[in-house]
């Protein structure tokens, strides 16, 4: 066994405002201001130099990754879990050499292929065939290599009839299948995968997961990031948990996933966003907390299925917003959505609250009793103006358990299929 990846004390620091947001670039005007204020900053930096090391936490810097170290042996599949902004994508970007680390070293043995986003370099005017060659070359394949895999790629993508049609005429599903097919046939020693399975129809997702399994069985090393816990559990034996840029746990996948689900996120049915935790680009929307409460107003993390439960979003608007809707996603731990609902779904509510002044708000909604089946569920939050902007989103803000004692059918000690378990009104009639 040899080590395929060795990560030592890796850190990546971003200047706030330059990091994740796109289209943010300096103008010469800013430089002039910067230059004018430079002596002041230098003086301050000199004054601080004796007291703290240069790279220490300064107010306008954030560490997207900090002190991350791990080794990965060849042929292993490692899952990476963590909430949004925990540093998962930054880690993959550093490993695939897209961006440089600020401190630390990584030693990688072999060619790294990344599926950070499928279809990179696809050009809408080019045909499917041309894009396969183009995309293959961008991903680092040689022409001969693409030639030899061409038929396989086309067959996998299921777009044979349209292979000589410009991809701008493709449906989004076809486009995606073709893009994934190229990427999946790349044969690097190390494959880095970020959330590609979140897209496409169920059947294609299955195919993709199958392909990832094949890759792992061929003895190649895979790093796999996903919010889909069932995919992580199925594809990886070992996982690491990242939180605020730090590696907080490494272990067998089941343990790591349990740890992730029960840490922070699930605590007492409440998720609180500290002011430094909410993304800067969410402004003027500032999330404060999401809570789950029983009918007496007590915060709970285990819901009794025979009682109603209230979902509460507390937030602050720092400026008036129009068209705002705040809502939640309810999903199973396997990542299947059950409900998506917003506070202004009701037209009369929208007329009244579509435009909101700045201030402190709570949006609250009660889910009826007799809704859930036994199991563990996840609540996500979304605040957006339709077609305008998504201010804030956290797909897995909270997790909770459902206890079904007293629910219909519990006289039989058997698990029931399906995420919901409503109390249905049966009538039984004797016809004869």
């Amino acid at each position: 066994m040899t080590t395929a990846i060795r990560v030592e004390n890796l850190g990546k620091r971003y200047k706030i405002g330059t990091a994740p947001t796109k289209f943010q670039y300096k103008m010469l005007r800013d430089v002039i201001v910067d230059t004018a204020t430079a002596p002041v900053r230098w003086a301050r930096a000199l004054a601080l130099a004796n007291k703290q090391p240069l790279l220490d936490d300064q107010p306008n810097y954030i560490w997207a990754l900090k002190d991350v170290s791990f080794d990965l042996e060849e042929g292993k599949v490692l899952g990476i879990v963590g909430r949004n902004g925990a540093g998962k994508s930054t880690l993959l970007k550093v490993l695939s050499r897209v961006t440089e680390p600020t401190v630390g070293t990584v030693t990688v043995r072999g060619r790294v292929g990344s599926l950070l986003e499928v279809g990179t370099g696809f050009h809408p005017e080019l045909t499917g065939r041309e894009n396969i060659y183009m995309n293959g070359a961008i991903l680092g394949m040689k022409r001969a290599e693409i030639d030899s895999k061409f038929d396989e790629i086309v067959a996998f993508s299921e777009v044979e009839q349209f292979i000589d049609t410009p991809v701008k005429r493709y449906s989004s599903g076809m486009y995606l299948r073709l893009a994934f097919a190229v990427a999946a046939h790349l044969e690097p020693e190390i494959l880095v995968v970020d959330e590609v399975l979140a897209v496409g129809d169920a059947e294609f997702q299955k195919k993709c997961i199958g392909k990832m399994g094949d890759v792992a069985q061929q003895g190649r090393t895979v790093l796999f990031v996903s919010h889909n816990m069932s995919a992580i559990l199925r594809l990886t034996e070992e996982a690491i948990v990242l939180d605020k840029g730090q590696l907080i746990m490494r272990g067998p996948t089941q343990q790591a996933v349990d740890f992730y689900l029960s840490s922070g996120q699930a605590q007492a049915g409440e998720r609180i966003w500290d002011s430094d935790e909410a993304p800067v680009n969410a402004a003027p929307f500032r999330p404060i907390a999401m809570r789950l409460k029983d009918n007496k107003g007590k915060v709970i993390d285990t819901v009794r299925s025979i009682e109603p439960v209230t979902v509460e979003m507390e937030y602050r608007l720092e400026a008036p917003l129009t068209g705002l809707r705040v809502g939640f996603y309810l999903s199973t731990m396997r990542g299947e959505y059950i409900i998506t609902s917003f506070d202004t779904d009701d037209v009369t509510k929208y007329e009244k609250f579509g435009a909101r002044d700045s201030g402190h708000y709570i949006s609250r909604c009660t889910l009826p009793a007799d809704l859930f089946n036994e199991g563990r569920y996840s609540l996500g939050v979304n605040a957006s103006s339709f077609g305008v902007r998504r201010y804030f989103q956290d797909e897995q803000a909270l997790a909770f358990n459902v206890d079904i004692s007293g629910a219909p059918g519990t006289q039989w000690a058997e698990p029931r299929q399906g995420p919901i378990r409503p109390r249905l009104d049966w009538s039984i009639e004797k016809v004869e």
């Binding site: 897209v98 440089e100 030693t107």
Partner: protein, 281 residues
């Protein structure tokens, strides 16, 4: 604990770089196929959904030549060393067009391929280099017209055109690539480049002997004038193809040296800025 095999050629060390970045042209060589593919993509896409297609490669210099011919040839009657004005200006418009197209395309090459830059590793030099080289195809198409003009005006170049023309073509590529490297890297951080570029090329056109002959510049300014490497390129093209001017002299070598300085400094600047491209773009 297992050990990494040290000095394995396929082992990649990722660490923060400090000081001057190595040019690492070997990495570029490994990705040479990508350069070819990018050129091919540019050409495939360039004239899509246009009515006239590749004819644009000819129309642009031809129309400019006609306008120049009217203004400078007929109205202002600038001296052309006894060469018919149309062929005199067209010969200069070829390398000039190559240069300005390269600047326009290459300075935008990184920002236009933003998703590649932020998602995938490859030597970023691939993007400006392929943009500049793709211009050679337009150059070749427009060159056909020049051959036609040479037949029409019965201009026969000296036999040494076989090596002088490639030499000056290479020189124009060096200048274009050098300036493009600077502009594309600056453009990642300062989009002002997009707005400044039209002025830059316009100004540069005035100080380059495209519409007029370099012989109108008085002797004492000739050396200063030759600090513009495009002046060397344009004079070189005229000398190689039409036999005008004195041929290689001190001014040419100044142009060559300046071109190389621009290229090497552009490479160094680009490579040093490259480490922040994915974060800044």
């Amino acid at each position: 604990m297992t050990e990494l095999v040290k000095h394995d050629p396929t082992t990649i060390y990722i660490k923060p770089t400090t000081g001057l970045a190595a040019l690492n042209l070997r990495d570029l060589w490994v990705y040479r196929e990508l350069v070819v593919f990018m050129i091919w993509r540019t050409l495939k896409v360039r004239y899509k959904q246009t009515m006239l297609g590749a004819a644009w490669a000819v129309i642009q210099p031809l129309m400019t030549m006609i306008v120049f011919n009217f203004i400078f040839g007929n109205v202002a009657k600038v001296p052309t060393d006894n060469i018919p004005y149309p062929i005199f200006s067209y010969t200069a418009l070829l390398p000039w067009g190559l240069f300005t197209n390269a600047l326009n395309q290459a300075s935008r090459s990184l920002t236009a391929n933003q998703n590649m830059v932020t998602k995938i590793y490859f030597p970023r030099l691939v993007l400006p280099i392929s943009s500049v080289l793709a211009g050679l195809v337009d150059f070749a198409i427009a060159f056909v017209i020049l051959i036609g003009l040479m037949f029409y005006y019965q201009v026969t170049p000296a036999w040494n055109v076989l090596w002088t023309l490639p030499f000056f073509l290479l020189l124009s590529i060096i200048v274009a690539l050098g300036v493009s490297l600077w502009l594309s890297a600056i453009n990642v951080q300062y989009r002002d480049v997009n707005y400044a570029l039209p002025f830059l090329t316009q100004f540069w056109l005035f100080i380059t002997p495209v519409a007029y002959s370099a012989s109108v510049i008085s002797d004492k300014w000739q050396l200063v004038y030759s600090l513009n490497p495009m002046a060397g390129v344009v004079n070189g093209f005229r000398w190689a193809l039409l036999g005008s001017g004195s041929g290689p002299d001190l001014a040419l070598w100044i142009s060559v040296i300046i071109s190389l300085v621009i290229l090497v400094s552009g490479l160094i600047y680009f490579r040093n800025m490259e480490r922040t491209f994915a974060d800044m773009i």
